[in-house]
């Protein structure tokens, strides 16, 4: 019978306190947190900030801040308002404002962002595109055949 103990034995007491006083100003600040040793599969979307410490596969979407902590793994396409990457991301990132890659970051995928900051030591494999360069925008918008016909027209003139 000793060997059939299934309930947790060495749980610290008073770990869950349900009557601690509430600190004002923290209300409505509940974020989505994917803790370590938790696997999330599917379309993971949230309206608030997301902190990832575990593994996520599928897709990740938030209009606000995404933080990928060291040791975390995301195997998904990511869309977010702002992001700080310290873990591993396999997939394309589409960030509306700012992305920060810290020294422990590992990104395999394309990044589309307005402001990019990369710390020395960060690993990145993929294409980076940023809005603001006019030529690049024109080139990306027009197909190659159209550009070619325009060039021929210029030469003939």
């Amino acid at each position: 019978m000793i060997f059939q103990k299934s309930t947790p034995k060495n749980l610290p007491e008073e770990e869950m306190l349900s009557d601690t006083p509430i600190e004002s100003g923290q209300a409505d600040e509940v974020e989505t947190v994917v803790g370590p040793s938790v696997n999330v599969e599917g379309d993971f979307a949230s309206e608030g900030n997301i902190i990832v410490k575990g593994t996520v596969s599928g897709s990740v979407h938030t209009s606000r801040f995404l933080s990928v902590e060291p040791g975390a793994k995301i195997m998904a396409n990511v869309r977010a308002g702002n992001a700080k990457i310290s873990g591993e991301v396999k997939g394309n990132l589409k960030i509306r404002e700012t992305i920060e890659l810290t020294s422990t970051a590992k990104v395999l995928g394309d990044i589309e962002v307005k402001v990019l900051s990369v710390e020395p030591g960060a690993l990145l494999f993929g294409k980076i595109s940023m809005p603001g360069i006019e030529g690049a925008e024109v080139r990306s918008v027009k197909p190659r055949s159209v550009r070619r016909s325009e060039e021929i027209a210029e030469i003939s003139q």
Binding site: N10, P12, L17, I22, Q26, S37, K53
Partner: protein
């Protein structure tokens, strides 16, 4: 008109003096009313519906967390205002609602400060405060969009009214506060990882705000909703659209 629902345990002699004092205070305030005694075989919804037909406007639950859960798990949708007088041990919901224990709860009730509170729905009953799934091998599906799993057992706590705090140690000061009127429920998942031969260790919790979730397992797991435990294989939890009118205190924690 007021109706008072007394829990069965209040028949014990040690509560006589408190109950007498409460009844005197309620009479002083002019809010005394009909007294009904509950037991496990009485369906509170039926009783409350009958009393509403007879003209009751306010139903006051007298007892502890278990009484509160027992009454509101069925009667949350009744068209009346609810009050709560916490008496006896195991009273945590009263504190969240800002209602002190014992005699001074009558003062809060007489002031009639009303709030509309969200309620959660689990399988076929309501829960007001908190739902707790004890550690088991679980799969949690959120809003039918993504699933959360762990390698070992995990514990789930769904908070509506009662805030959930966790601390790794005494130095840890990070508190998550859950607002009961934000239109969402919050689920805290704490995976357990094996430590050594016998023991388990809690990992940092994951937090997911949600509107609908499903907890599935291969073997039955224990669910405690508002202090009432049951064994389930599949639990569907969502935010019920109905809300309850509740008399609360000034020191409420939301």
């Amino acid at each position: 008109m007021y109706v008072y629902l007394y829990d069965n345990f209040l028949r014990q002699k040690k509560y006589d003096s408190v109950i007498k004092a409460i009844e005197v205070r309620l009479t002083d305030y002019g809010i005394a009313g009909k007294i009904l005694r509950l037991n496990n075989f009485i369906d509170p919804k039926q009783v409350i519906d009958d009393e509403i037909k007879r003209g009751a406007k306010t139903v006051v639950i007298v007892g502890n967390d278990a009484t509160f859960g027992h009454v509101l798990s069925r009667a949350a949708t009744c068209d009346c205002t609810f009050g709560f007088l916490p008496v006896g041990s195991n009273n945590t919901i009263g504190r969240v609602l800002g209602i002190p224990e014992g005699l001074s709860a009558c003062d809060v009730l007489s002031k009639r400060r009303k709030e509309r509170l969200d309620i959660g729905w689990m399988n076929n009953r309501y829960f007001v405060s908190q739902l707790h799934v004890l550690p088991a091998r679980l799969k949690v599906v959120y809003d039918e969009r993504f699933a959360v799993t762990t390698n070992e057992k995990m514990e789930v706590v769904v908070c509506n009214l009662q805030p959930f705090y966790w601390k790794k140690d005494k130095k840890d000061e990070s508190n998550q506060v859950v607002h009961p009127q934000d239109g969402k429920l919050e689920a805290f998942l704490r995976p357990l990882t094996k430590q050594g031969w016998w023991g388990y260790k809690y990992e940092d919790p994951s937090i997911f705000p949600f509107e609908e979730m499903e907890i599935i397992s291969d073997s039955p797991f224990t669910v405690e909703a508002d202090g009432k435990a049951s064994k389930e294989l599949k639990v569907k939890i969502k935010l019920a659209h109905g809300k309850i009118d509740m008399v609360v205190g000034r020191n409420r924690k939301f």
